[in-house]
Symmetry: D4
Subunit: 159 residues, 8 copies
């Protein structure tokens, strides 16, 4: 797969948007001493190249009443069911992340729930997907780091 | 902790921002038949209440050359070192998520790397943090779901 | 769920009953300098609110010939069988405690038996419940702490 | 150890007290067609023989705000520290049960906490006891059975 | 079960037979200053009481070409198959010991074989018994202790 | 190592002694139609060659009050301590068998005890041997097979 | 099985061929002060005896784009399927090594792939072989040693 | 790293050498209708590019008395010791393969030995390397596949 080439200007634009996706293009332009039109063109280019896939709000789940996080390891009956099971998992909005993994699990996913009882119901819903033979759950006692920005900045500094 | 009360208008504003954090407030106002000033006030209120903590770009890590994801389970020598170790982990930008967990690990984290060799170096850097006695790594073969938006919409529909 | 509010008097009554559930209300009344009728009313209130669910004798199982304690971890074939299996477990009086758990087991329970051979028969009875695929047993070599009173006192001191 | 001999009358007295430890002796006497004095003598005898060790209230922990239950498996550095560690565990009132066990853990205990965060602090307090090298925690999603009465009745029916 | 009472003379007779089951009764009699007839009567009594169940030769398996020892942990599909599986195991003479166990295995057995390849065939024969779902094997690299005599002497010294 | 050659007569002698080590040589001689002297010479030859290492009584441990059997897996701090630890294990008569093994344990041994409490003390004595870092115990619920005679007969039939 | 006897000359020939299988026989002959015909005869003899089974090129897999190595542990449904499963594994050229093993896996194999995604497809192909119930994968982060020559030289020095 | 480009002729040359590294260049030339000089140039080019790293004899280890294969998983005290430990492992010729791995082990290696006792000594030598805290061994009962040729042919067919 051909990697997209980004130049120094692109990196600086991304660097500013990473911190605040709502930064107006005119502010970016002023800081980089380029025209707002150039910022617009560059961002558009990176969106079309698929590098920028979108943006997301960072909400405080605890304040919204969703303080419970668990990681669920899934054992499948047969790995050819992987795609089918993933589609079912995608229908459970509380499953926010899911990976096909090596090691003892076939699939490994992250869920967010309101509390212990809510988590139980979600885990039961996962457990009952056809093709899943067993799950193992690990409870998060505290989400200490959840921050992609440090990595994003590092990627653009390293490029 | 007193939960912040959000009304129907707040929910609809969040619902639109979740899909695209760059949606102009004038567009939101037009759709909800309210003034742009009201949108502004509501968003400000939710930011001050800490419900909206910010926004983040969704980049395509594969296109940026960071295709390798691993989950690393960490065993500490003593749990009173948890805070100290978390601070050291935070200095490694490739550690994008870290949780204090129940089960066999004390800390469980997610790392993004360029390839197997890069991952090895990051894992070694984690392993050599003082207070960590051992780690176990699980490699992601495919990130099939990574999407908080379904959950966010559900939260606002349920409220 | 609305928590019941208990005042200082309630706490002191509970504190005395925790140590000896047979303490006569007149003794409690004398100590707290209130009428026996008040004690009666308060206890009734707490029973109706469901805070006091009853009382239980503390017997010496070793002297009664039930010296053998084991913890049994249960793997189910499917978690939708949980409720059904719990009902079957409840029919085995030697199963004194049972939890739905995270981690590797679906259900985790405690059994009391006379000796190794008796335990074997109980474990076999558990194993043969429909829907249970496998169990793992951990034997207690000594029950060193079994005392809820310290916690109860602490709860009322903390309130 | 010489087992205490209980006769039919003793069994029937225990059977009634198991259901409600506050049952007045006069009620028991009336039902069994014996004198209240006899009931008193029998109960005293069983207390002195150590068969009846006391009584305890059954409170609703959920209503008291203690809804979180976890089982913690403890690995010691050396088993000769068992006694020392047990004494330290006893100073943590949230540890309501603790056993010396076979299998992978040296000690296995049950804790009650208010919520995830509270549990984290208790687990950390356990982890930091001198002589403990590591712990593994299993969270209860639901306490489905916690009832010694069925066993007690069975014991007296079997005797 | 009523335990058989053995006196000092019985202990001394057993003590001598433990070291060499072929010791003539006349030698035992001379040493204990009793008649050979008494020795005969005592041994007979202990055989009838089932305390002495027989005697066995101690052969050197390595010299006979059976140097390979393995322990095999067996997982059953259902524990009600235990008796059936034990009968099948008994038909494989290389299975010299088998226990019903707690922990992760249902049955745990010891096998003796000529070499790696022979062991493979025996393990396969065990694996294919109906009702066995899986086995795990642990190879002995050296049998350092295999000696019941120390325990037997201790038992008779302790009695 | 040169294997000793045994002929048909040797096999038949061993076959008879396996069933009862006290069988008089005259009985063996009569059955095999050879002289008692020949039996004596043959047995002596096999003893000198080290094939017959001795004989042992088969006692009923349950009747002697030793009903409790456990398997203990031992983790060493360093394998160069193996020999030292084995010598210490040999001083505990309740350790009747001990192997150096592959798999997760360094040493695997079998112990016989009177009951749960006695087993605890023996396991603690093992645990406290210098060089042992940890042990895991598996309890036998029933010793279903303990019989080397089937194997011995098979060996001589196969030779 | 009768072992083939090799003399000093054979060892020296093998020693030279181990380092470079393409060494001309005339070079070997010159060095050992024997005729090239003798070298030819000796090599032929060792080939016929099956000691030399062939030769293989040592290629640089990383340069050929096959940098990804994984070890896959296989659980079978029943061990009598071992032979059948091995034949299926042999049809996947990326499975370069496969063993029947003791321990928790029935079969243990090594695979080489281009990258994470390619590895996933190979693991899925393995997983879907009939008779395989589950697999566990361990990823190599670096192949630090892959060298049989040291052992071969040692074997011939020891002989 | 710039991958070397190989053309169709290179592939065919490699394809023939894979089957027999001693194939004379004149035979290869004849078959491919090119000159022996061209074959020589091409092979030299691939050796200089590092694609061909050498060749190795395929010996029958069983016939040479090395029938015992084991896989040893190594736990390090600290991963910064990895390089040091690898250098020590390289001094043990019986360690033919060693990988830095993800999962529960830090290093995973393969050893070849004469028999159980020899394997024990090699494992002990590995165990006693400074920086290794523990090892776990898995014994091969049969090496069913050990063949890189299928993969090599496939690579050149796919290129």
């Amino acid at each position: 797969m051909a990697k997209v080439k980004l130049d120094e200007i692109d990196h600086q634009i991304l660097d500013m948007l990473i911190d605040n996706t709502r930064t107006p293009f005119t502010d970016i332009a002023k800081k980089l001493l380029i025209s707002a039109g150039t910022v617009h063109v560059r961002v558009k280019k990176m969106e079309e190249a698929g590098i920028i896939k979108g943006s997301s709000l960072t909400l405080d789940y605890v304040k919204l009443g969703y303080a419970f996080i668990a990681y669920v390891g899934i054992f499948l009956e047969k790995t050819h069911q992987t795609k089918f099971v993933m589609e079912r998992l995608e229908q459970i909005p509380n499953v926010t992340v899911a990976h096909i993994t090596t090691g003892k699990f076939n699939i490994f996913c992250k869920i967010r729930a309101k509390d212990t009882n809510h988590a139980k119901n979600i885990i039961f819903a996962v457990d009952d997907i056809e093709g899943i033979s067993r799950t193992e759950t690990m409870i998060s006692l505290e989400e200490s780091i959840n921050d992609k920005k440090r990595l994003m900045h590092k990627i653009f500094n390293d490029l």
